[in-house]
């Protein structure tokens, strides 16, 4: 059985034998910028995204996705919609606080360099009160637009984003805005305190493929990362701790995406403890579909900070 998207009230069916099912709430549309407020070509772009009311807590990976999508708008405008970036590298992504239902995230991206092969940027997502996620050393690899998207539609979409703010995402069409991404795992090996190896089934079809991307459906790397972080947290939970508090992700670093993951593919993932202190665990993450597709490191707080 493949993993699939289901409505929250649709329940979760059985997965592959011996698997673990984890549900990630995400909006129906895989679009995480509601409004672009400032656009200085080649320099800076700012925008907003409101977490749909039906999404209790937006995954920090999807907050990072929002920052990346804002950077993508800036790069696409700069290259007159002939090129678009796809995620490639992130030196560091720091998780400060959760983004919860109904919160409006103020997004900001500083473009550090932009060329026909790559755009480099850093960015933040914050509420009025505090930072939520910060990313730095991000690089998007520029790709021919026509392979991924319809430039005419994107131009129209940009006009909407630059116009009056739209209603909060969850208010536009209640009842169909939020789905649950049901990740079906089969854990093939789990050595507590050392490593977890698992398989993740990418669905053959899912609503987010329509946005990511219209002409070339690709499994979003941020969904893969979210699933990998769940594995890493499970692994961290097996480490000796003084506090009963749950481990939490502090930072993802050296994230590299080597190739696209396509609908229907099976991803082999590995989370391996690299080092442990009294308060922090460093875990290496990797994923492969036949050959390696991504790698990253994650720092996990074992004790409340």
């Amino acid at each position: 059985m493949r993993s699939e998207l289901q409505r929250p009230d649709a329940g979760v069916g059985p997965g592959p034998t011996g698997n673990v099912i984890s549900g990630l709430e995400l909006p129906y549309r895989f679009l995480f910028v509601d409004h672009i407020t400032t656009l200085e070509i080649g320099r800076r772009v700012e925008g907003r995204y409101t977490v749909p009311p039906a999404v209790a807590v937006l995954s920090p990976c999807l907050v990072a996705e929002a920052i990346g999508q804002l950077a993508a708008w800036a790069a696409m405008v700069e290259h007159d919609f002939c090129l678009r970036p796809v995620a490639a590298l992130t030196a560091a992504a720091r998780v400060h606080a959760p983004a919860v239902a109904g919160q409006t995230l103020e997004l900001a991206v500083d473009i550090e360099s932009s060329a026909t092969d790559a755009v480099a940027y850093s960015g933040t997502a914050r509420t009025a009160a505090a930072p939520v996620v910060e990313v730095s050393g991000c690089v998007g690899a520029m790709q021919p637009m026509e392979e991924f998207d319809d430039s005419t539609q994107l131009r129209s979409q940009l006009e909407v984003l630059r116009g009056l703010p739209r209603p909060a995402s969850g208010e536009r069409d209640p009842g169909v805005e939020t789905l649950t991404f049901t990740a079906a795992w089969r854990i093939s090996e789990h050595v507590p305190g050392r490593h977890i190896r698992a398989q993740l089934w990418v669905p053959e079809s899912a609503p987010y493929f329509a946005d990511h991307f219209p002409r070339k459906p690709v499994f979003p790397a941020t969904l893969l990362l979210d699933a990998q972080l769940r594995l890493a947290l499970e692994l961290a939970g097996t480490l000796p701790r003084r506090s009963p508090a749950q481990p939490r992700v502090r930072e993802v670093h050296d994230l590299k995406l080597r190739r696209f993951i396509l609908p229907g593919q099976t991803i082999e993932t590995n989370a391996e403890v690299r080092s442990v202190t009294a308060t922090t665990a460093a875990i290496d993450l990797s994923a492969a579909v036949g050959t390696r597709v991504s790698s990253a490191g994650v720092s996990i707080d074992l004790e409340p900070r």
Binding site: A88, L89, A91, S113, A115, D117, A118, A120, G137, V139, A141, D254, K256, L257, R258, S295
Partner: protein, 141 residues
């Protein structure tokens, strides 16, 4: 003329440790595995995304600007694009220029009818030391 690309022993000693560590970090391998004259692709398993990674890490680490395609452009020098390569394949003159520019690369690795797309397979850690040293000489960014 081919631009002056050789770096002094002092420059090499200055930049090599950080360049090698940067490459090791980008490729996720031990620093000891990185040697000056190994091919990044053939010997160290680098892919195109790794070159992007290495270049951005070097730019951040050394605070220099390394324009993409710089190595090819520098090797081409004052040859026209048509004189350097035709239909994606290096001309004899282009190959000669490249061989002179990448003097650190063993001659046996330069084969006839080399495609432009295959040139990165020649790059070594030493090549990136030259790129960084040149960027620093030029006072970039």
């Amino acid at each position: 003329m081919v631009q002056e690309t050789e770096i002094t022993a002092a420059e090499m000693a200055d930049v090599y440790p950080r360049v090698a560590q940067t490459i090791a970090d980008a490729l996720g391998c031990d620093r000891e595995r990185v040697q000056p004259d190994l091919s990044l692709i053939d010997d160290l398993g680098a892919e195109s995304i790794d070159f992007l990674d290495i270049v951005f890490r070097l730019e951040r680490g050394f605070k220099v600007k390394i324009p993409r395609g710089q190595i090819i452009e520098d090797a081409r020098g004052d040859l026209s694009e048509a004189e350097f390569a035709q239909r994606g394949v290096l001309t004899e003159a282009g190959l000669s220029r490249l061989r002179a520019y990448l003097s650190e690369v063993p001659a046996a690795r330069f084969r006839a009818r080399l495609k432009l797309a295959d040139v990165p397979a020649l790059f070594t850690p030493h090549t990136f030391c030259k790129v960084v040293a040149r960027a620093r000489r030029n006072g970039q960014p």
